[in-house]
Protein backbone atom coordinates (compact mmCIF):
# COMPACT_ATOMS: atom_id res chain seq x y z
CA UNK A 1 0.00 0.00 0.00
CA UNK A 2 1.61 3.24 -1.02
CA UNK A 3 1.73 6.50 0.83
CA UNK A 4 -1.30 7.99 -0.84
CA UNK A 5 -3.53 4.99 -0.12
CA UNK A 6 -2.58 5.05 3.49
CA UNK A 7 -3.27 8.75 3.91
CA UNK A 8 -6.59 8.44 2.13
CA UNK A 9 -7.47 5.81 4.70
CA UNK A 10 -6.77 8.28 7.45
CA UNK A 11 -9.02 10.82 5.78
CA UNK A 12 -11.76 8.21 5.46
CA UNK A 13 -11.29 7.15 9.07
CA UNK A 14 -11.57 10.75 10.18
CA UNK A 15 -14.93 10.92 8.43
CA UNK A 16 -16.03 7.61 9.88
CA UNK A 17 -16.20 6.07 6.44
CA UNK A 18 -13.73 3.24 6.86
CA UNK A 19 -15.00 -0.27 7.43
CA UNK A 20 -14.43 -1.86 10.82
CA UNK A 21 -11.38 -3.96 9.98
CA UNK A 22 -9.24 -1.40 8.19
CA UNK A 23 -10.45 1.13 10.76
CA UNK A 24 -8.99 -0.95 13.57
CA UNK A 25 -5.70 -1.26 11.69
CA UNK A 26 -5.39 2.41 10.88
CA UNK A 27 -6.36 3.36 14.42
CA UNK A 28 -3.56 1.25 15.80
CA UNK A 29 -1.11 2.93 13.46
CA UNK A 30 -2.57 6.33 14.24
CA UNK A 31 -2.02 5.89 17.95
CA UNK A 32 1.62 5.01 17.44
CA UNK A 33 2.65 7.49 14.75
CA UNK A 34 3.01 11.15 15.78
CA UNK A 35 3.02 12.33 12.18
CA UNK A 36 -0.33 10.69 11.55
CA UNK A 37 -1.70 12.17 14.73
CA UNK A 38 -0.54 15.59 13.63
CA UNK A 39 -2.32 15.12 10.29
CA UNK A 40 -5.47 14.13 12.17
CA UNK A 41 -5.21 17.39 14.10
CA UNK A 42 -4.83 19.40 10.91
CA UNK A 43 -7.89 17.72 9.37
CA UNK A 44 -9.84 18.89 12.40
CA UNK A 45 -8.40 22.37 11.96
CA UNK A 46 -9.46 22.55 8.32
CA UNK A 47 -13.01 21.69 9.30
CA UNK A 48 -12.94 24.31 12.03
CA UNK A 49 -11.88 27.01 9.59
CA UNK A 50 -14.57 26.07 7.10
CA UNK A 51 -17.27 26.02 9.74
CA UNK A 52 -16.00 29.24 11.33
CA UNK A 53 -15.31 27.64 14.65
CA UNK A 54 -12.69 28.94 17.08
CA UNK A 55 -9.25 27.65 16.11
CA UNK A 56 -7.91 27.28 19.64
CA UNK A 57 -4.31 27.81 18.64
CA UNK A 58 -1.73 27.71 21.38
CA UNK A 59 0.40 30.80 21.60
CA UNK A 60 2.41 32.68 24.12
CA UNK A 61 3.31 29.59 26.04
CA UNK A 62 -0.25 28.59 26.79
CA UNK A 63 -1.10 25.06 25.90
CA UNK A 64 -4.06 24.46 23.66
CA UNK A 65 -7.30 22.96 24.88
CA UNK A 66 -6.53 19.40 23.84
CA UNK A 67 -3.21 19.55 25.68
CA UNK A 68 -4.86 20.91 28.80
CA UNK A 69 -7.38 18.07 28.67
CA UNK A 70 -4.58 15.59 28.21
CA UNK A 71 -2.71 17.01 31.18
CA UNK A 72 -5.83 16.76 33.34
CA UNK A 73 -6.39 13.21 32.25
CA UNK A 74 -2.89 12.23 33.37
CA UNK A 75 -4.28 12.45 36.86
CA UNK A 76 -7.31 10.36 36.02
CA UNK A 77 -7.24 6.63 36.47
CA UNK A 78 -7.26 4.65 33.30
CA UNK A 79 -10.62 3.19 32.55
CA UNK A 80 -10.68 -0.38 33.68
CA UNK A 81 -11.09 -2.59 30.65
CA UNK A 82 -14.68 -3.74 30.75
CA UNK A 83 -16.37 -6.60 29.01
CA UNK A 84 -16.41 -5.82 25.30
CA UNK A 85 -19.24 -3.43 24.68
CA UNK A 86 -22.20 -4.72 22.72
CA UNK A 87 -21.83 -4.72 18.98
CA UNK A 88 -22.44 -1.24 17.76
CA UNK A 89 -25.00 -0.85 15.00
CA UNK A 90 -23.30 -0.83 11.65
CA UNK A 91 -24.12 2.27 9.73
CA UNK A 92 -25.37 2.08 6.17
CA UNK A 93 -26.63 -1.41 5.57
CA UNK A 94 -25.85 -1.06 1.92
CA UNK A 95 -25.32 1.87 -0.32
CA UNK A 96 -27.78 2.92 -2.87
CA UNK A 97 -26.64 4.86 -5.81
CA UNK A 98 -28.26 6.67 -8.58
CA UNK A 99 -27.86 4.96 -11.86
CA UNK A 100 -28.70 1.49 -10.70
CA UNK A 101 -31.78 0.21 -12.36
CA UNK A 102 -34.09 -2.71 -12.24
CA UNK A 103 -33.42 -5.76 -10.20
CA UNK A 104 -30.10 -4.56 -8.89
CA UNK A 105 -31.72 -1.54 -7.40
CA UNK A 106 -34.62 -3.51 -6.05
CA UNK A 107 -32.36 -6.04 -4.51
CA UNK A 108 -29.91 -3.64 -2.96
CA UNK A 109 -32.03 -0.93 -1.43
CA UNK A 110 -35.60 -1.19 -2.61
CA UNK A 111 -36.57 -0.16 0.86
CA UNK A 112 -34.80 1.05 3.90
CA UNK A 113 -36.78 -0.04 6.92
CA UNK A 114 -36.71 2.72 9.42
CA UNK A 115 -38.91 2.49 12.38
CA UNK A 116 -40.51 -0.36 14.09
CA UNK A 117 -42.99 0.44 16.76
CA UNK A 118 -42.15 -1.09 20.04
CA UNK A 119 -45.56 -0.53 21.51
CA UNK A 120 -48.87 -2.14 20.76
CA UNK A 121 -51.11 -0.03 18.63
CA UNK A 122 -54.81 -0.16 19.40
CA UNK A 123 -55.96 -0.70 15.87
CA UNK A 124 -58.05 -3.43 14.38
CA UNK A 125 -55.81 -4.03 11.45
CA UNK A 126 -53.26 -2.30 9.41
CA UNK A 127 -54.28 -2.89 5.84
CA UNK A 128 -51.47 -4.65 4.05
CA UNK A 129 -53.68 -5.96 1.30
CA UNK A 130 -51.94 -3.83 -1.24
CA UNK A 131 -48.53 -5.22 -0.49
CA UNK A 132 -47.15 -6.19 -3.83
CA UNK A 133 -45.43 -9.45 -4.48
CA UNK A 134 -43.14 -8.12 -7.17
CA UNK A 135 -39.62 -7.46 -5.96
CA UNK A 136 -39.64 -4.00 -7.45
CA UNK A 137 -42.23 -2.92 -4.96
CA UNK A 138 -41.65 -1.63 -1.51
CA UNK A 139 -40.90 -3.96 1.29
CA UNK A 140 -43.27 -2.77 3.92
CA UNK A 141 -42.14 -2.97 7.44
CA UNK A 142 -45.18 -2.33 9.54
CA UNK A 143 -44.34 -4.34 12.53
CA UNK A 144 -47.55 -3.76 14.37
CA UNK A 145 -49.31 -6.32 16.44
CA UNK A 146 -53.00 -6.02 15.72
CA UNK A 147 -54.98 -5.67 18.85
CA UNK A 148 -58.49 -4.85 19.77
CA UNK A 149 -58.97 -1.19 20.41
CA UNK A 150 -58.18 -0.64 24.02
CA UNK A 151 -58.63 3.10 24.19
CA UNK A 152 -55.25 3.42 25.83
CA UNK A 153 -52.97 6.01 24.35
CA UNK A 154 -49.71 4.28 23.55
CA UNK A 155 -46.50 5.84 24.65
CA UNK A 156 -44.11 6.38 21.83
CA UNK A 157 -40.52 5.59 22.69
CA UNK A 158 -39.07 9.02 22.26
CA UNK A 159 -36.36 10.53 24.34
CA UNK A 160 -34.57 13.77 23.86
CA UNK A 161 -31.54 15.43 25.23
CA UNK A 162 -32.46 17.60 28.12
CA UNK A 163 -36.04 17.88 29.18
CA UNK A 164 -37.89 14.70 28.54
CA UNK A 165 -41.00 16.04 30.19
CA UNK A 166 -41.61 18.64 27.56
CA UNK A 167 -41.23 16.18 24.76
CA UNK A 168 -43.43 13.34 25.84
CA UNK A 169 -46.98 13.34 24.67
CA UNK A 170 -49.56 14.47 27.16
CA UNK A 171 -53.24 14.10 26.56
CA UNK A 172 -54.12 17.37 24.93
CA UNK A 173 -57.08 19.43 25.83
CA UNK A 174 -60.23 19.12 23.81
CA UNK A 175 -59.61 20.72 20.47
CA UNK A 176 -62.98 20.32 18.83
CA UNK A 177 -66.41 20.98 20.31
CA UNK A 178 -68.28 17.75 20.21
CA UNK A 179 -71.55 17.23 18.45
CA UNK A 180 -71.94 20.51 16.63
CA UNK A 181 -72.17 20.20 12.91
CA UNK A 182 -70.50 23.07 11.19
CA UNK A 183 -72.27 25.43 8.88
CA UNK A 184 -71.89 24.44 5.28
CA UNK A 185 -69.87 27.46 4.31
CA UNK A 186 -67.40 26.77 7.08
CA UNK A 187 -66.83 23.30 5.73
CA UNK A 188 -65.97 24.73 2.35
CA UNK A 189 -63.67 27.27 3.90
CA UNK A 190 -61.77 24.72 5.93
CA UNK A 191 -61.32 22.51 2.91
CA UNK A 192 -60.13 25.43 0.79
CA UNK A 193 -57.83 26.56 3.55
CA UNK A 194 -56.29 23.16 4.02
CA UNK A 195 -53.96 23.64 1.10
CA UNK A 196 -52.51 26.63 2.89
CA UNK A 197 -52.66 25.09 6.31
CA UNK A 198 -49.86 25.30 8.79
CA UNK A 199 -46.79 23.19 8.37
CA UNK A 200 -46.89 19.60 9.40
CA UNK A 201 -49.61 17.26 8.46
CA UNK A 202 -52.56 18.55 6.49
CA UNK A 203 -54.92 16.08 7.99
CA UNK A 204 -57.31 18.32 9.87
CA UNK A 205 -60.09 18.24 7.33
CA UNK A 206 -59.63 14.55 6.66
CA UNK A 207 -59.61 13.90 10.36
CA UNK A 208 -62.81 15.88 10.65
CA UNK A 209 -64.38 13.86 7.88
CA UNK A 210 -63.41 10.68 9.63
CA UNK A 211 -64.72 11.88 12.97
CA UNK A 212 -68.07 12.89 11.54
CA UNK A 213 -67.98 16.58 12.29
CA UNK A 214 -67.89 17.12 8.57
CA UNK A 215 -70.34 15.50 6.21
CA UNK A 216 -68.35 14.41 3.17
CA UNK A 217 -71.42 14.68 0.98
CA UNK A 218 -71.84 18.37 1.78
CA UNK A 219 -71.91 20.63 -1.26
CA UNK A 220 -71.64 17.86 -3.78
CA UNK A 221 -73.45 16.99 -6.96
CA UNK A 222 -73.86 13.56 -8.34
CA UNK A 223 -71.61 12.65 -11.23
CA UNK A 224 -73.11 11.17 -14.35
CA UNK A 225 -72.49 7.59 -15.38
CA UNK A 226 -70.40 8.84 -18.28
CA UNK A 227 -68.25 10.93 -16.02
CA UNK A 228 -67.67 7.99 -13.72
CA UNK A 229 -66.97 5.67 -16.61
CA UNK A 230 -64.41 8.07 -18.04
CA UNK A 231 -62.37 7.76 -14.88
CA UNK A 232 -61.74 4.04 -15.11
Amino acid sequence: MNETERDSQLSALFDGELAADPAALVTRRLLKDPALRATWGRYALIGAVLRQEPLLQPAGGRADLADRVRQSLLAEPELAPVAPPPVFAQPRAGGWRRGLTGAALAASVAAVALLVLRWQMPVAEVPLAAQPSSPSGAVVVANVAPQAASGVLPEPVVSSSVEDVAHSYTTPRQAAPSGARLAAHLVDYVVAHSDYASPGVRLSSLSAQMSGSMDPAENTVEMTKDEVGARR
Binding site: D15, G16, L50, Q52, L73, P85, V162
Partner: protein
Protein backbone atom coordinates in the same frame (compact mmCIF):
# COMPACT_ATOMS: atom_id res chain seq x y z
CA UNK B 1 -24.24 9.80 11.30
CA UNK B 2 -21.29 8.56 9.36
CA UNK B 3 -18.83 9.51 12.07
CA UNK B 4 -20.13 6.45 13.89
CA UNK B 5 -17.46 3.96 12.91
CA UNK B 6 -14.27 5.89 13.54
CA UNK B 7 -15.54 7.35 16.77
CA UNK B 8 -16.67 3.99 18.06
CA UNK B 9 -13.35 2.37 17.29
CA UNK B 10 -11.62 5.11 19.26
CA UNK B 11 -14.17 4.90 22.06
CA UNK B 12 -13.55 1.20 22.34
CA UNK B 13 -9.83 1.84 22.62
CA UNK B 14 -10.40 4.35 25.42
CA UNK B 15 -12.71 1.95 27.18
CA UNK B 16 -9.98 -0.64 26.88
CA UNK B 17 -7.63 1.67 28.77
CA UNK B 18 -5.88 3.74 26.10
CA UNK B 19 -6.07 7.40 27.01
CA UNK B 20 -4.24 8.36 23.84
CA UNK B 21 -7.32 7.43 21.86
CA UNK B 22 -9.32 9.98 23.82
CA UNK B 23 -6.88 12.69 22.83
CA UNK B 24 -7.75 12.01 19.21
CA UNK B 25 -11.43 12.43 19.94
CA UNK B 26 -10.73 15.68 21.75
CA UNK B 27 -8.73 17.02 18.83
CA UNK B 28 -11.50 16.11 16.44
CA UNK B 29 -14.29 17.81 18.35
CA UNK B 30 -12.69 20.55 20.43
CA UNK B 31 -13.53 23.35 18.02
CA UNK B 32 -17.14 22.31 17.73
CA UNK B 33 -17.58 21.94 21.46
CA UNK B 34 -16.06 25.34 22.22
CA UNK B 35 -18.27 27.02 19.65
CA UNK B 36 -21.31 25.28 21.09
CA UNK B 37 -20.48 26.24 24.65
CA UNK B 38 -19.69 29.81 23.66
CA UNK B 39 -23.36 30.46 23.14
CA UNK B 40 -23.94 30.00 26.84
CA UNK B 41 -20.89 31.80 28.20
CA UNK B 42 -20.28 35.47 27.93
CA UNK B 43 -16.50 35.32 28.02
CA UNK B 44 -14.66 33.28 25.42
CA UNK B 45 -12.08 32.22 27.99
CA UNK B 46 -14.87 30.74 30.09
CA UNK B 47 -15.97 28.74 27.09
CA UNK B 48 -12.63 26.95 26.88
CA UNK B 49 -12.71 26.15 30.57
CA UNK B 50 -16.18 24.76 30.31
CA UNK B 51 -15.22 22.76 27.24
CA UNK B 52 -12.29 21.29 29.11
CA UNK B 53 -14.61 20.34 31.96
CA UNK B 54 -17.03 18.75 29.51
CA UNK B 55 -14.34 16.59 27.96
CA UNK B 56 -13.19 15.38 31.33
CA UNK B 57 -16.74 14.58 32.32
CA UNK B 58 -17.10 12.68 29.08
CA UNK B 59 -13.96 10.68 29.77
CA UNK B 60 -15.20 9.71 33.20
CA UNK B 61 -18.63 8.78 31.86
CA UNK B 62 -17.26 6.79 28.95
CA UNK B 63 -17.66 3.39 30.63
CA UNK B 64 -21.39 3.96 30.52
CA UNK B 65 -21.42 4.85 26.84
CA UNK B 66 -22.82 1.89 24.95
CA UNK B 67 -23.14 3.33 21.50
CA UNK B 68 -26.89 3.91 21.63
CA UNK B 69 -26.23 7.20 19.96
CA UNK B 70 -23.38 8.68 18.02
CA UNK B 71 -20.46 9.68 20.20
CA UNK B 72 -20.77 13.33 19.23
CA UNK B 73 -24.47 13.33 20.09
CA UNK B 74 -23.58 12.03 23.53
CA UNK B 75 -20.73 14.50 23.91
CA UNK B 76 -22.98 17.33 22.76
CA UNK B 77 -25.43 16.64 25.55
CA UNK B 78 -22.68 16.55 28.14
CA UNK B 79 -21.30 19.84 26.84
CA UNK B 80 -24.65 21.60 27.05
CA UNK B 81 -25.33 20.33 30.54
CA UNK B 82 -21.88 21.38 31.66
CA UNK B 83 -22.43 24.83 30.22
CA UNK B 84 -25.79 25.22 31.88
CA UNK B 85 -24.37 24.18 35.23
CA UNK B 86 -21.49 26.58 34.79
CA UNK B 87 -23.90 29.45 34.28
CA UNK B 88 -25.65 28.60 37.49
CA UNK B 89 -22.48 28.24 39.50
CA UNK B 90 -20.90 31.41 38.22
CA UNK B 91 -23.18 33.68 40.13
CA UNK B 92 -21.05 36.76 39.74
CA UNK B 93 -22.70 38.16 36.66
CA UNK B 94 -26.16 37.45 35.33
CA UNK B 95 -25.96 35.79 31.99
CA UNK B 96 -27.63 37.25 29.01
CA UNK B 97 -26.79 35.32 25.98
CA UNK B 98 -28.11 36.57 22.77
CA UNK B 99 -29.19 33.72 20.58
CA UNK B 100 -29.98 35.74 17.55
CA UNK B 101 -30.15 32.87 15.19
CA UNK B 102 -31.13 34.96 12.25
CA UNK B 103 -27.67 36.37 12.04
CA UNK B 104 -26.05 33.10 12.84
CA UNK B 105 -23.11 33.32 10.54
CA UNK B 106 -22.08 36.83 11.35
CA UNK B 107 -22.39 36.42 15.06
CA UNK B 108 -20.43 33.20 15.11
CA UNK B 109 -17.69 34.61 13.04
CA UNK B 110 -17.42 37.46 15.48
CA UNK B 111 -17.29 35.14 18.42
CA UNK B 112 -14.75 32.85 16.92
CA UNK B 113 -12.45 35.73 16.32
CA UNK B 114 -12.87 36.86 19.90
CA UNK B 115 -11.81 33.46 21.15
CA UNK B 116 -8.51 33.65 19.32
CA UNK B 117 -7.88 37.09 20.67
CA UNK B 118 -6.25 35.71 23.78
CA UNK B 119 -2.80 36.89 22.82
CA UNK B 120 -1.59 38.87 19.85
CA UNK B 121 0.41 35.89 18.69
CA UNK B 122 -2.63 33.66 18.81
CA UNK B 123 -4.63 36.17 16.84
CA UNK B 124 -2.00 36.46 14.16
CA UNK B 125 -1.57 32.73 13.90
CA UNK B 126 -5.30 32.13 13.68
CA UNK B 127 -5.67 34.75 10.98
CA UNK B 128 -2.85 33.21 9.04
CA UNK B 129 -4.41 29.78 9.27
CA UNK B 130 -7.75 31.09 8.10
CA UNK B 131 -6.21 32.98 5.21
CA UNK B 132 -4.19 30.01 4.08
CA UNK B 133 -7.10 27.57 4.25
CA UNK B 134 -9.43 29.92 2.45
CA UNK B 135 -6.89 30.64 -0.26
CA UNK B 136 -6.37 26.94 -0.71
CA UNK B 137 -10.13 26.49 -1.02
CA UNK B 138 -10.26 29.19 -3.68
CA UNK B 139 -7.59 27.38 -5.63
CA UNK B 140 -9.19 23.95 -5.49
CA UNK B 141 -10.75 22.42 -8.59
CA UNK B 142 -14.51 22.58 -8.23
CA UNK B 143 -15.14 18.87 -7.78
CA UNK B 144 -12.70 18.64 -4.90
CA UNK B 145 -14.07 21.77 -3.30
CA UNK B 146 -17.65 20.63 -3.59
CA UNK B 147 -16.81 17.30 -2.02
CA UNK B 148 -15.08 18.74 0.99
CA UNK B 149 -17.72 21.41 1.48
CA UNK B 150 -20.50 18.86 1.50
CA UNK B 151 -18.57 16.80 3.97
CA UNK B 152 -17.34 19.49 6.36
CA UNK B 153 -20.09 22.07 6.19
CA UNK B 154 -23.03 19.85 5.62
CA UNK B 155 -21.90 16.74 7.45
CA UNK B 156 -23.09 14.53 4.64
CA UNK B 157 -21.97 10.93 4.43
CA UNK B 158 -19.85 9.77 1.49
CA UNK B 159 -22.89 7.96 0.23
CA UNK B 160 -25.04 11.05 0.24
CA UNK B 161 -22.29 13.05 -1.42
CA UNK B 162 -21.94 10.34 -4.05
CA UNK B 163 -25.64 10.67 -4.81
CA UNK B 164 -25.40 14.44 -4.93
CA UNK B 165 -22.34 14.52 -7.15
CA UNK B 166 -23.43 11.50 -9.15
CA UNK B 167 -20.19 9.58 -8.78
CA UNK B 168 -19.01 6.46 -6.97
CA UNK B 169 -18.30 6.53 -3.27
CA UNK B 170 -14.64 5.77 -3.91
CA UNK B 171 -14.37 8.92 -5.96
CA UNK B 172 -15.88 10.93 -3.12
CA UNK B 173 -13.33 9.54 -0.71
CA UNK B 174 -10.51 10.34 -3.11
CA UNK B 175 -11.75 13.88 -3.77
CA UNK B 176 -12.10 14.70 -0.11
CA UNK B 177 -8.65 13.31 0.59
CA UNK B 178 -7.09 15.24 -2.27
CA UNK B 179 -8.81 18.43 -1.14
CA UNK B 180 -7.44 17.94 2.35
CA UNK B 181 -4.00 17.20 0.98
CA UNK B 182 -3.95 20.36 -1.10
CA UNK B 183 -5.01 22.49 1.85
CA UNK B 184 -2.66 20.69 4.20
CA UNK B 185 0.33 21.42 1.99
CA UNK B 186 -0.23 25.14 2.51
CA UNK B 187 -1.05 24.72 6.19
CA UNK B 188 2.24 22.99 6.82
CA UNK B 189 4.04 26.08 5.60
CA UNK B 190 2.39 28.12 8.31
CA UNK B 191 3.70 25.84 10.98
CA UNK B 192 7.21 25.57 9.65
CA UNK B 193 7.29 21.87 9.56
CA UNK B 194 4.13 20.63 11.11
CA UNK B 195 1.43 21.46 13.49
CA UNK B 196 2.91 18.65 15.34
CA UNK B 197 4.48 19.75 17.76
CA UNK B 198 5.27 16.17 17.46
CA UNK B 199 4.05 15.29 20.87
CA UNK B 200 4.57 12.40 23.08
CA UNK B 201 1.31 11.05 24.25
CA UNK B 202 1.16 9.35 27.57
Amino acid sequence: MSDDVSDLVLVQRVQAGEKAAFDLLVRKYQHRVVKLVMRYMRQPADAEDVAQEAFIKAYRALPQFRGESAFYTWLYRIAINTAKNAIVSRARSPVEYDLDLQNTEESYDLQSRLADHDTPEALVLAEEIRTVVNQAMDALPEDLRTAIVLRELDGQSYEAIAATMDCPVGTVRSRIFRAREAIDRRLLQVFDGGLGRVEELA
